[in-house]
Amino acid sequence: MSSILPIAFDGITYASWLFLISAGLTLIYGVMRILNVAHGSLYALGAYAACSLAGAWLGGGLPAAGSFAMLLLAALLVGSVAGPLIERGLLQWMYGKDEVVLVLITYALFLIMEDVIKLVWGVDSLLLPDPYALPGNFQLGGLTYPVYNVLLIALALATGLALAWALYRTRQGKLLLAVIHDRDMSMAMGINVSRVYLATFAVGATLAALGGAFTAPTIAVTPGIGVEVIVLAFAVVVIGGLGSLGGAALGALLVGLVRSATVRYWPEAELFSIYAVMAMVLIARPKGLFAAQEARKI
């Protein structure tokens, strides 16, 4: 019984991290019908940018608390520079292609970005331990937890709520939902789809980078960190239903909790359990938990 608390805490921490990344992935798919393999590279880019910015900040002897602002800045920078660059420079020429071909295109982009990251930052590991250590630990039920993880959970919650608010309460968000529900209709209604796509991709990229930036202090940032993340995020959004924000949240929570329980009781099955959950969800609900089933009319 005493293990429930740590399982829940670890699971929710992991889910928060997964949600940050998956929310961007599912948003981009929902609006643009692109399952973006390069999302993992944007995540990695966020982590590297965070190392550089926060590293420079701390190296300059500036107040350590400010390094958190640097993590945020890194994510915003990646989202507002790399995001539009990719969308305007490559993806905008590819709209209308088959979904599977679009996966291949972003897979090619992923391969390119992996090497670009290596060329810019080198192949050695980068470490950014300070932001993680800074807030210290707290005690609960006789166990010690890092405060940083609480911050991560709060960040994911805030991001999720902000996204939900932006989608359901603002005019732009409602336009986005209109595009998600019926692209042809929204075009006919005169919505500037090109601008919607650009904005969506930038926001999605920011979310991926946010996930990366806030993970950087907890890991050694090395080439290839995006490779595993992308399949994990795939699993989450497929479980939740492609294009559904609520689905991504639920999927992240499901995967997070299953993983932390497995890690505790049967550590060998960690990866296995995540994809087994994905397979089981898809078997029970072929299009994920929150996706509408559409019928073909003849």
Partner: protein, 309 residues
Amino acid sequence: MKAAIVAIAPLVALTGLALLSPQWLVFMAMLALAKGVVVLGLLVLMRTGLVSFGQGLYFGIGAYAAALLSHHLHVADAAVMLLAGAAAAGLIAALLGLLLARYRDIFFAMLSLAFSMILYGVLVKSAALGSTDGFNLHARTFFGVALASGVERRVFLIAGAVCAVVVALLVHRLLGGHWGRLATGVRDNELRVAYLGASPYRVVYVNYLIAGAMAGLGGALAALAVGHVDPEMTYWTTSGEFVFIAILGGTQSILAPFVAASIFEALRTIASQYAPNVWQMSLGLAMLAIIMFLPAGLWTLAERRRRSV
């Protein structure tokens, strides 16, 4: 008949290669052959309009089946290993296919990816199978004939070439006739197939099974070539590589996967020597260029030239 003659040429060339070239080239040719078989299987599946991002599953199963025979059951015959690789992969494909044949488009791609990642997750944590390091295998006989040390790979290359040619001819026959047209029909319009009285599910299932068994054969060939298996063979990037080679070659010809796989392996060998840091980038750029300018694959280049002559 014409196809059989066309098939003899590469067989002779590969045999020549096997007997005369340096070891590294034999090794490279064998890997190209192994991947070509996997990709040809992928083409069979793609004929129904489905792309699997999880062929690494069957590639890995084939390789591990061969290696397990060698390592744990002390079977030392390469022919048995190849058969076992194809059979094991075919068996799993026959099971998973029951489920996967119901899925289409991106959901098919993602579910097949999930299954390959499940195997990866199992393999990296299985201490008995060497975890992330994998383990070695040795084949000492071929159809019961003992192999002198040093020539194994050359023999395997010829064996692999024979396997590939036989499989390619079978695929050629299969796709050239009613079944190929029916599979195209499933890709174009499943509703019409059903309303003509055939089952799209069955067509997809059978093609999935064939693709799985071929990936298993390819995996066993690769295992013999390398003499080692590890979980990387089932990782999603390996599956991505197969899709890449399929796109590179295009779906126009049964030779295309082998040509594309050879180009791929040659480029990889060169790149890992001279430009290890931009290898993936070159791959990515090449892939974008092909999707944009040669959507039917490199093979269209050869076709165009033939037509302009």
